[in-house]
């Protein structure tokens, strides 16, 4: 018996070694860049430890405005995405309507086209429509509304998919039973269907909230470059500024963005834990 164990220990752990590429990848492309960002955030242009960049970022009123603006845009976009995606996913998960999953593919089809092109197309479309109907251009006159529209349009598929996946796993018998035992349709929906799809809702939120924070191209296109979200600030400091402290300030803003995303992840975890019994899906 002992001999067997010893032989096992000496044997090359093939399964374990499969993880090596993964760890190398993580170290190179996740840990190392993060370390560089942290380094820049806490140093000044001469490489000396300093909190000057933090001071610059947080004493600029505009940055606070942009951060607030971004969180609001992302939150509204996420809520709208869920509200629109939920009924769509419900219909799609009903085998009667969606026998061969063709409908799902139709909803995912726009994702085959580059999102910048789609956003420019959307901009032309809604500007044309609002000029025709109300004699103003949405992107020029109401940039914030336009940005939210762009975000919802681009990230809707990311909300539909996790919800759809979760709904496929719903226990249909339970819904039927609830109806049989006297629950009216509203009660069935709120007491049965929603609780069963909570993991799907949570991951749909994450899938839309996180990218809407940083995808500044959509914000640029939909606001004619007049309105910034956090992603714009980061992009500006890293690619447009030639200030000697550009990387330092840019890194601080990146870290701030990372923190906001971290907080939302924590929120997801707490909600997820509460619904532990339901947690079959998680992020698809």
């Amino acid at each position: 018996m002992e001999a067997v164990v010893r032989r096992r220990q000496r044997r090359f752990n093939f399964r374990g070694s499969l993880c090596i590429p993964y760890f190398v990848f993580m170290a190179l492309f996740v840990v190392a860049p993060l370390a560089i960002i942290v380094y820049y955030a806490f140093t000044d242009q001469n490489g000396l430890i300093s909190l000057e960049s933090w001071k610059t970022v947080f004493t600029t009123a505009k940055n606070w405005q942009v951060i607030g603006q971004t969180v609001i845009i992302s939150t509204i976009s996420t809520i709208l995405c869920i509200l629109i995606a939920y009924p769509i996913a419900y219909i799609l998960s009903n085998k009667k309507f969606n026998k061969n999953k063709v409908l799902v593919y139709i909803f995912l089809l726009p994702m085959w086209i580059n999102f910048v092109i789609r956003t420019i197309g959307l901009k032309a479309l809604i500007n044309g429509a609002t000029t025709f109907l109300f004699h103003f251009e949405l992107t020029a006159d109401y940039p914030l509304v336009a940005i939210v529209l762009g975000m919802v349009y681009d990230y809707l598929p990311f909300a539909i998919l996790p919800l759809y996946n979760q709904m496929l796993k719903m226990d249909k018998n339970q819904i039927e039973a609830a109806a049989d035992l006297g629950a009216n349709p509203v009660q069935v929906f709120f007491k049965n269907i929603i609780p069963m799809t909570i993991p799907g809702i949570v991951s749909a939120c994450m899938m839309t909230f996180m990218p809407t924070m940083s995808s500044y191209v959509i914000a640029n296109k939909m606001s004619e470059n007049t309105t910034s979200i956090i992603g714009n600030l980061v992009a500006y400091w890293f690619s447009e500024s030639i200030s000697p402290v550009s990387f330092n300030v840019g890194s601080v803003i990146s870290l701030v963005m990372l923190m906001i995303i971290g907080i939302t992840l924590l929120l997801e975890k707490t909600i997820g834990n509460k619904e532990e019994n339901q947690k079959k899906g998680g992020i698809w």
């Binding site: 610059t56 500007n127 006159d141 004619e224 470059n225 690619s239 447009e240 030639i242 200030s243």
Partner: protein, 443 residues
Amino acid sequence: MIKNKLTCLVASFLALSSVTLLSGCEKYDAKLTICNWEDYIYLGGKENGKKVKGIVDRFKDYYAETHDGAKIKVNYQTFSTNEELYAQLGDMNADLICPSDYMIQKLANENKLIPFSYDEANDKYNASLKNWDDNGSPFIRNRFKSEKLNDGSCFLKYAVPYFWGTMGFVYDSDYFEEEELESWECLWSTNTKFKGQFKLKDSVRDTYLTGIFHVYKEEIDALDKTAPDFNAKLSEIFNRCDDETIAKVGTALKAAKKDGGTVRGFEVDDGKSEIVSSKTYHANLAWSGDAVYSMDCGDELEKTLNYVLPKEGSNVWFDGWCMPKGANQALAEEFVNFICRPDNAALCMGEVGYTSPIVGEDMWEFVNETYAAEEGETDTYEVDLSFYFGEVEGGATIKIPSSERGRQFDAQYPTEEQLNRCCVMKDFGAQQTKVDLMWQDIK
């Protein structure tokens, strides 16, 4: 079984890719890496169904001719903003780059460039840049010469001019009259006709200057325009970037951008095509070459766009060939010399739309062919370009049809008087971060 198949697949894929990789390794005797602006050179095309070689290919032939059939590999890359070039300079091992004036200044001051063998007293390079010495425009030489770097030397020591231009408004002549846009003040007009009618540059360097002309309007108007040091005085105001000026410019630009203001948005790349078909806004802050591009496109769609250089003054900018540290000097100079040959310069100018600092017979011919009025046309105006072209056979005056006023020719060749009101940008230096913060505050 499946495993075997997989191994076979992987092996054959590897074999194939190594073959293609190896075949990519062509033998060559020299290698030149050029990093230029996007759409900033003639890269070949078709004429009457025949393929015409671009500058890079022509240079390869030229190199073979002059070096006993030696082969050169040209690695041609592009960048889209000076700032991008600055950020990537270390990684690309370029032999030649083409930054703008203020960036040349910054790079030279940071000791990142190799100087050309330039003799300032005689205003001459050595024999390897003969084409520039023979054909460089006298106006550009003087202008470049008067711009000093930190070490007291002039721009020409570090850069050979490639293209230059001004900055003004390109506008739809059906909507605006020239008089309405001839002052920068139009950006702060309260007239409802101007509401949301402008797009400015999404680049702080360029939009900053509109604010300067507004903030210091009174001071600029009070300057004596005929004084010999007018341009120097204007340049001083133009390049102000103390804290107070930055704050004032920020406030001014914010006022122009706010709801109900004249500014509709910012762009750097898509504006030149957007203005052609735009029905919602009718003027775009544009570099002269982009303006020429827009006007050309407009002509095809029978929409007349015009270009106006505001009367208070504007920016005159230069892009020049520079050699970053580590460049292959001899090769780089050879290429610069080649592209300075008037026939090549004319080819590039025809393609790009900006004005080449190269003059000479070929260039003069090109300009005449493109713009001069037909013989017998009476409704013309005369432009004296001797300040720019120097001495040309038959005198450097050109007759332009009056219908072309404010159009392509005027955009490419401003008058001497107009150019006296244009200033060269200087690097913001230590104030850069403050300007960046001001700019973010606006957006």
